[in-house]
Amino acid sequence: MANFTPLSAAIGGGLIGLSAVLLMLFNGRIAGITGIAAGLLDPAGGDRGWRLTFILGLIAAPISVMLLGYTVPGPDMPASLATVAVAGLLVGFGTRLGTGCTSGHGICGLSRLSTRSIVATLIFMAAAMVVVALTRHGIGG
């Protein structure tokens, strides 16, 4: 397990959990990135201000650490551009259809012990593991 980084994982995870608690405490909202982003894209959706600032805060985080002199790794994606585009479509459509992603179901939902979120998280984890098994170890891999 050469790449295992338990300490930074625990600290980072704690920060993500803290963000979810604070957003509920202040604004009464679930910190689900899918729901927050989709609300911005919906022409009929109101309530845009806090959604936009959440997204801006998310993007500001790596920029601020870059300004402090830390290196932010680029998104290392060896996949072809066509694969990247298809993956983006699937993630966008799938997270809306399933009403949540890794944050909304995986963190906020599991913390509430929501059965829907537990089921969704197990399914998207399993589906992703199957895809990685096929692309890394499957035919031609």
Binding site: M1, G28, G57, R96
Partner: protein, 153 residues
């Protein structure tokens, strides 16, 4: 004030993804690659991230649930409880896309800061997928429409 609180929350969330390494697709794929367990190359970090996040969020939610939120009149906890076809189908489609490149919506949007061309393509495609879903739902029945506007996250 709500916008400012939300900015802070988004920033803390982004720091969490950065510190944990989950901003990197390769780190996420290293966890999803369970066939790498026998060779010792599996990276369980994402499980630690989830465990820590769940511990903090679980305890925090339990503490604040009996109270009232600070800047709005009431908490908006998700209300849906049924396991339905859209939930299962959506999770399958999302999982396939996530496994293909290792990006889910949070790290994808956060990575816009790096202005990588392939990343921009992913985020644009993701936005198209979300809008396509809304358009598709809007053509359905009124019941479907109500469901489309509910969200767990």
């Amino acid at each position: 004030m709500r916008a400012l609180a939300s900015l802070l929350c988004g920033y803390i969330f982004g720091l969490g993804l950065f510190v944990s390494g989950m901003i990197k697709p390769s780190k996420v794929l290293g966890f999803l690659d369970i066939l790498a367990i026998p060779s010792g190359n599996w990276d369980p970090s994402l499980a630690i991230v989830m465990a820590a996040a769940l511990a903090v969020a679980g305890a925090g939610y339990a503490l604040i649930r009996p109270r009232t939120p600070l800047l709005v009149t009431q908490f908006q906890w998700p209300t849906q409880t049924t396991i339905d076809t859209p939930l299962v189908a959506g999770a399958v489609l999302f999982g396939i896309g996530w496994g293909l490149v290792g990006l889910c919506p949070g790290p994808a949007i956060e990575n816009l800061a790096t202005v990588s061309p392939s990343l921009v393509i992913f985020v644009v495609a993701m936005a198209v997928g979300m809008v396509a879903h809304n358009t598709w739902q809007a053509r359905g029945t009124a019941v479907d429409l109500v469901q489309a506007h509910r969200a767990d996250g």
